[in-house]
Amino acid sequence: MGERRLMMCNEVVAEAAIVAGCRFFAGYPISPATEVLEYMARRMRQVGGTCMLPESEISAINMLIGASATGARVMSATSGPGWDLMQEGVREMAFLQLPCVIVDVSRAPIGIGPSQGDYFQCTKGGGHGDYRLIVLAPATVQESADLTRKAFWLADRYRTPVVVLTDAALGHASEPVSFPERLEPALPPKSWAVTGAAGRRPNRVNTEDKAGLGGDSREIWGGFEAFIRELRRKYDEIEAHETEVDSFLAEDARIVVVAFGTSARVTRTAVREARKRGIAAGLIRPITLWPFPSAAIAEMAQRAEAVLTVEMNTGQMVEDVERAVGGRTPVRFLGRQGGVVPSPDEVLAAIEAAGLPVREGVHGAAQGL
């Protein structure tokens, strides 16, 4: 265990990336993610890496494509508007099977308050075609360090972009943190990387060759279809092996609350308070938003009277929760928007109301609180 230090989450994800071997960072300033870039600008000089501040997020993500294609561990950090601009490049990396880590410190679309409104964009994909992103959602500063380091391993292991999704509240939170040197299992060398074709056949980073289409292939469409199916098989493997979920007092819970990131922190407090009041509440916190822990949620939900989803948006993850629950248990929703973090009292009230019958025409007992 390394020594414990008090650090801001945005700086922690940057330091964790450096510990993980990230030596190329490209980013464009945007609140509330800018500290990641500023920290990288200082630290990359010390460790002999590169930190670029190009003219746009579009350029930043494409620089990542180039650096990642050489086999380097690469990262960027951004928030909503910049994340929008990066979608084309992130999708391209998914298809080129290039590893990268992107930290999305999500903010409300109006203003820069904390929000979880990027859930759809991260987990369902913001670019065209059929692809998935691994999405990790830490809830504490220490977990942000651990998951960022893990993100690099996952990205390399599966050759895919990985998103570390925080928000304005967590990104700016300072908590004690340590950077353990525990290393993930070794991975094979990146024999596909472009580093100059010395002593080997040329490497080609493009979707056509990845689809097995050589010089004069006549099997273009069949080749592409096989490639997309191959990608899908990889995503199945990720779903089977990398789904991660945390639970708190959920084993015997009558009211199961599902929440991630900052809203899960608030919910934890509310669950503890509910228990004091004799309500058997529990929390299920998806750590991987994709792959989504549907099985764990379905299992808990079966034993519960009601499931409550708490989010900082108008209801995005609740769709995945409903799908996991499959109509067997009522699903309620509490959402705050516009940069507002739900208070523990609100969540507690929603937990208390969750077991009650739903009012006519209202989606979820807690709606409108």
Binding site: L64, A67, A69, T70, V74, R204, N206
Partner: protein, 250 residues
């Protein structure tokens, strides 16, 4: 008398078939890249970043490492490669739609940063691959599918003189314009490719070479007519070296 080979395919090129229309000069440029990369002994050090458009077919022809870039983004991708591996020779191959249109910001900023990459700008005054629409460098009066009566600067705007703009960038060390319409110009193009690569390897800054290229298919001309029509392009944008590294004679 024993026969000996006087002309061969450069080792920097594979034996894949060229994917261009008859009379397209993109293939000549592709061959010149192969020759220069081989002659400079750079097959094991070169990485080409290939933009969108007809030239993206060169991915299967170059016999060294390549990366295919999104439309317009080749200079940014090349920057990432070069910064991660400064010992490599990194050059982009981009069309006029790619470089002067969607990717104008990327190339201007790569030039301004003085990025040690070379950019090859294949200008055929139209979007070749998508079927001959007006591109950023389409000449006034030139007919395209989106300017059926000819480009009218009052309606359609003026052609962008991106190479002149790039020559103004402080980080740009070598800026030149050549054409593939005549054998002499082909030879000059090859020399310019070499100078661009030398500029990069000497660490002097950004280098860009605009190569005027014929697109007989989308110009609706025969290959010979297309080569003649290129005189209009040359009149609008004169050939030559716009900028050479300081202290080096033209």
């Amino acid at each position: 008398m024993a026969l000996h080979k006087v002309f061969d395919r450069p080792a920097a090129l594979t034996d894949a078939l060229y994917a261009y229309c008859p009379g397209c000069t993109h293939g000549i440029a592709q061959r010149l890249f192969g020759e220069v990369v081989e002659e400079m002994g750079l097959i094991e050090r070169a990485v080409a970043v290939i933009g969108s458009g007809c030239l993206s077919a060169s991915r299967q022809v170059f016999n060294f490492d390549t990366v295919k870039a999104l439309h317009g983004r080749a200079p940014s991708v090349a920057t990432g490669i070069k910064r991660a591996h400064p010992e490599l020779l990194v050059f982009t191959v981009q069309g006029d739609g790619d470089l002067a249109g969607i990717g104008a910001a990327d190339v201007i900023h790569a030039a301004t940063r003085g990025e040690r990459i070379s950019t090859c700008f294949m200008n055929n005054a139209t979007f070749g691959m998508t079927g001959g629409q007006m591109g950023p460098t389409t000449l006034p009066g030139q007919k395209t599918t989106t300017t059926p009566d000819g480009r009218d600067p009052l309606l359609d705007g003026h052609p962008v003189r991106i190479t002149e703009m790039l020559a103004m960038a402080q980080g740009a060390a070598y800026v030149a314009r050549t054409a593939l319409n005549l054998p002499t110009n082909v030879i000059r193009t090859k020399m310019a490719i070499r100078r661009a690569f030398e500029t990069q390897l000497a660490g002097l800054g950004f280098s860009v070479l605009e190569i005027l290229s014929a697109c007989p298919t989308d110009w609706h001309l025969t290959p010979v007519e297309a080569l003649r029509w290129m005189e209009h392009m040359i009149a609008a944008a004169p050939l030559g070296e716009l900028k050479v590294p300081e202290g080096r004679a033209r």
